[in-house]
Symmetry: C2
DNA sequence: ATCCAACTGTAGCACCTGCTACAGTCGCCG
DNA sequence: CGGCGACTGTAGCAGGTGCTACAGTTGGAT
């Protein structure tokens, strides 16, 4: 199935870039292929199936987002960690990654594959990166897991409810409230 | 455009039922029409456009969810309110409504109409119903708004990340943690 | 009875979807 | 050289999409 690994990887990256700006839900092979300078015929030959392509794209997008969180310097405390994590999630570079994740999760809501499976895996890795950042920031182990769950869920909700509002004062207060609320879990 | 109001309303309800179980993203007119005993031709005649039909369906679904929240007895305090609201959101009857909302929100993420507009309106009404329930439960006004924002966002995240897990102990602990965290906002 | 407007069934349009059959072309190994 | 396997362009298939043109068929007001 993997005929030419490096070409496949290059196409995966380009397809991910395309999906990040065009969206996943309406994605179809011919426009994607044209955008990255090939044909649907070639994509199917090298990926086997559209579903396999999509799975690769989601994995790649997830890799980027997780890497961004991993690259974060430790935060001073739990409250600061919420803000730092949010600054990654809402950043122009990585916001499309979480947007793509949301689209995939919506597609997987009814259990449709490959979305449901890939999304579950992506969420696990994403959550783990949150936990890792929290522990690196001095948050005790059991608390870190519980806080990460709340933080992740709230971030997804923020993303879902008002995507164009990123950066408004209302959103900033919501994040500040979230950090206050989560910090209270430690007591 | 609204030729026969009552038939249109009846079809809207039936279409909503259909969308609630079949999903919104892949929705197409012919299967829907067949399921409710008519034809795509008729749907288009009475609704004008698929987008108008979808908007009506989303509005109806939102009505049902908001009505369910409004029908709630006041909770004893903020923490209890989180649990009571969650019991509505996750209930077998209304969980599909929030699922549908999530699908619409995902479709609207890139600003595509009618989804983006309808979703914004639905979110406002939904949030307002949360605030109303919180104030009826004795939560002071400014706090109620801020808490509702966090609660709504977290609920959406829960829905998004692991739909089949509804009812598991992990999810219950997450909701309990959320109620603890939000309750701390009052101090 | 007439006429008009509201309604509806049939058939089809133009377009798009993932995917594939066929016919090559290319480079490497013998 | 022959041949073989990996690769790729062309064309097309079968099915689906929202939507519409056309030809009725009602039912009620005149």
């Amino acid at each position: 199935m993997a005929k030419d690994p490096e070409r496949r990887e290059a196409w995966t990256r380009e397809a991910t870039d395309y999906a990040l700006e065009q969206g996943l839900i309406g994605l179809s092979l011919r426009p994607l292929a044209a955008a990255i300078g090939t044909s649907d015929r070639m994509l199917l030959y090298h990926f086997g199936t559209k579903d396999d392509l999509v799975a690769a794209v989601l994995h790649d997008s997830n890799d980027r987002a997780v890497a961004a969180v991993s690259a974060l310097d430790p935060s001073t405390d739990l409250r600061a960690a919420v803000h730092d994590l949010w600054s990654v999630v809402r950043s122009a570079e990585f916001e499309p990654c979480t947007r793509l994740y949301v689209e995939a999760a919506a597609l997987g809501l009814l259990g449709r594959e490959p979305y449901a499976g890939v999304v579950r895996e992506a969420n696990e890795r994403w959550l783990r990166s949150f936990v890792t950042h929290l522990t690196r920031s001095g948050v005790a182990r059991p608390l870190a897991g519980r806080a990460a769950t709340i933080i992740d869920a709230a971030f997804m909700g923020f993303q879902l409810d008002a995507p164009p509002d990123v950066g408004t004062t209302a959103r900033k207060r919501a994040v500040a409230d979230l950090s206050d609320a989560v910090a209270a879990l430690g007591r």
